[in-house]
Amino acid sequence: MNRPAITPTCIVAAYSADRYGEAAVEHAAGLARRDRARLVVVNATLGSSLVDTRFAPDADIAALRDRLAADGLEVVVRHDVVSDVADAVVAAAAEENAELIVVGIRHRTPVGKLLLGSVAQRIILEARCPVLAVKPD
């Protein structure tokens, strides 16, 4: 495997509580382990609907943090209600001086994209650092 052009010291993983988010976190954790980088997991919600299944419950976040920490990783979890999820991820990367953002991507129909937009697409376009797009197996 070729080494990437950069060796990040800090990686941001955009986490949503589904298989896409898990793919992103797993991939980011693998890279962080290899490059001994800090890992910042961002799980955010708009908080505008009563139930947001992509926003992980506190207990799950604690479990995720413990699991990654037990792996020997230096991990920070940002678990917030924000005004824009994509902005939150990009801002987290800027604040933590991250050199890489990992997002999980999915298929969206054109209509779905029109109605719902795509958080991953906005992160890719707006981030100041390279973004790695991963898919679940």
Partner: protein, 506 residues
């Protein structure tokens, strides 16, 4: 009996069946969403009554009324957010069950219990309502006046947690009801000719339920999402059936009479049912940790009492819940004389409604058992979209009453009032009942005094009136006694269970 069969004939026409199905679907949907109740939905749908036949509209409204109850229990169980005050108990025990992995059983006992209770209570309605109407029709204005006073008093003082807040709401409502020149002299019109016809009740209802709620949500828009418990299709084991059927029947027995009294309300019977089941249960240790009896009983009581509230509505023209109040407004909108004569003047409508309750109940069971996981998905709708829609329909509805831009200003003013009532915990129900019953109360008083030529003693000249006043006096006495015994009343259980209250009055 013939009337009932005729009623089924009305209810089972394809068109009305469609409206019933539409009603139960809509009712369940709004019941599932906390903050949006059947009362708000009916208020928003009042303009529909301009273009739809009376029987169809009323049948749809009844479907929404029943559907709201089913939906409310789903939210209570899965989210621990009671959609309405009568689901508070269901939320306590049902959510514990769901957390213990028994969400499917909790939903099933709630849905089947609601069906059993609803069916029995509907059958009781068929028997009780005509008889009550026959008795009431012989009453004169003084008795009718006394009954209304009792209803206002009970809704204000008996049901709410705080008497003071209840009376604040009641007097606000009575004041709004006074506006206009119906008595020949202008009252509270502030020289504004547009107020001369009074404030339309549709505007008041839409403003309080829809605008007030929307402003409240807008003020609390961003907050941490609630954790929902995933669930499959509801089902029950043989053991669950064995533990559920007695609480269902006992809950029905508690719920119906409480609902049928002009001092109705579903909170009291659900609390009573819960306490009874806790005492009688063979598994008292499970209570507080998710006992199926604690869901089955209160949920049945809740539905039976909802059916019961139709007795005073249809036989006396007295609403005791917010939803019933809006149904009364709809009936009046069609020009029907509500009160004891309604059953004789429009038997087809009343019996069509009574029959359709049965149809709605059956539809709800069929819809809800397999579709519970789907309903839970509604909770993911982003609230800005939802409330934008509600505001649109609220404005449209208020404008279409008189096609006056002035009504929109009134809508906003009363909506802001509704927001502040919510902010300071003032119940909405006494206000809306006050607006509706205030003018009728005055009318009965005027009639009574005209007949007696101004002699005030006519007000206690009828035996029924005397009995009603004695009941009111006893209620007052009971309140005074409990007030003296407990100078600092403990916080009501309802307020303690959830700090972020999302309760709506039905």
């Amino acid at each position: 009996m013939d009337l009932l069969l005729d009623g089924f004939q009305t209810a089972l026409t394809p068109e009305n069946l469609l409206f019933a199905a539409l009603g139960v679907l809509l009712g369940t949907a709004v019941g599932v969403l906390p903050g949006i109740g059947p009362a708000m939905t009916l208020a928003l749908l009042l303009p529909v009554t301009y273009s739809v036949g009376a029987d169809s509209a009323i049948i749809m409204f009844a479907g929404i009324y029943y559907g709201g109850m089913y939906g409310g229990s789903t939210t209570s169980i899965l989210l621990n957010t009671p959609g309405e005050s009568s689901s508070v108990i269901t939320a306590i025990e049902g959510n514990k069950m769901a957390k213990a992995g028994r969400a499917a059983q909790a939903l099933a006992t709630a849905a089947i219990g609601s069906f059993v209770a609803g069916s029995i209570a509907t059958a009781l309605l068929w028997i009780v309502t005509p008889q009550v109407a026959d008795i009431v029709v012989t009453l004169g204005s003084p008795s009718y006046f006394a009954l209304m006073v009792l209803a206002l008093f009970a809704v204000t003082a008996v049901l709410g947690a705080s008497k003071l807040r209840g009376f604040i709401a009641l007097f606000l409502g009575l004041a709004i009801g006074l506006v206009g020149t119906s008595t020949g002299q202008a009252r509270l019109t502030f020289g504004q000719p547009l107020l001369a016809d009074g404030i339309d009740i549709v505007v008041v209802a839409v403003a309080l339920f829809a605008i007030g709620e929307a402003l409240w949500v807008a003020a609390h828009l961003r907050r941490k999402p609630l954790e929902i418990i995933p669930v499959g299709e509801p089902w029950m084991s043989r053991d669950d059936w064995g533990r559920s059927w007695r609480p269902w029947l006992r809950g029905t027995a508690y719920g119906f009479p409480f609902g049928a009294l002009p001092a109705g309300g579903a909170e009291l019977p659900t609390f009573l049912s819960y306490a009874t089941e806790k005492r009688l249960s063979k598994h008292p240790e499970e209570f507080g940790k998710g006992a199926i009896e604690g869901v089955a009983g209160p949920e049945a009581a809740n539905n039976a009492s909802a059916a019961g509230t139709l007795v005073p509505l249809l036989a006396l023209g007295l609403p005791t819940t917010a939803t019933a109040a809006i149904m009364l407004v709809a009936l009046q909108g069609y020009g029907f004389q509500t009160g004891p004569t309604l059953m004789d003047d429009h038997p087809d409508l009343v019996w069509g409604l009574l029959a359709s309750l049965f149809v709605a109940n059956a539809l709800l069971l069929v819809l809800n058992l397999p579709m519970a996981p789907l309903w839970a998905k509604l909770l993911r709708i982003p609230r800005p979209y939802l409330y934008a829609g509600i505001l649109f329909f609220a404005s449209l509805g208020a404008y279409s009453v008189n096609f006056q831009a002035f009504d929109l200003a009134l809508l906003l003013v009363i909506g802001v009032l509704g927001f502040f009532m919510r902010r300071f915990g003032i119940p909405v129900l006494p206000l809306i009942i006050g607006v509706i019953l205030g003018p009728k109360l005055e009318e009965q008083l005027t009639t009574a005094l005209q007949i007696s030529q101004g002699d005030v003693s006519t007000l206690w000249s009828e035996p029924v009136a005397v009995v009603v006043y004695v009941v009111i006096a006893l209620l007052l006495l009971a309140m005074a006694v409990t007030g003296l015994r407990r100078p600092a009343p403990a916080e009501p259980a309802a307020a303690a269970t959830n700090d972020e209250k999302e309760l709506v009055e039905r």
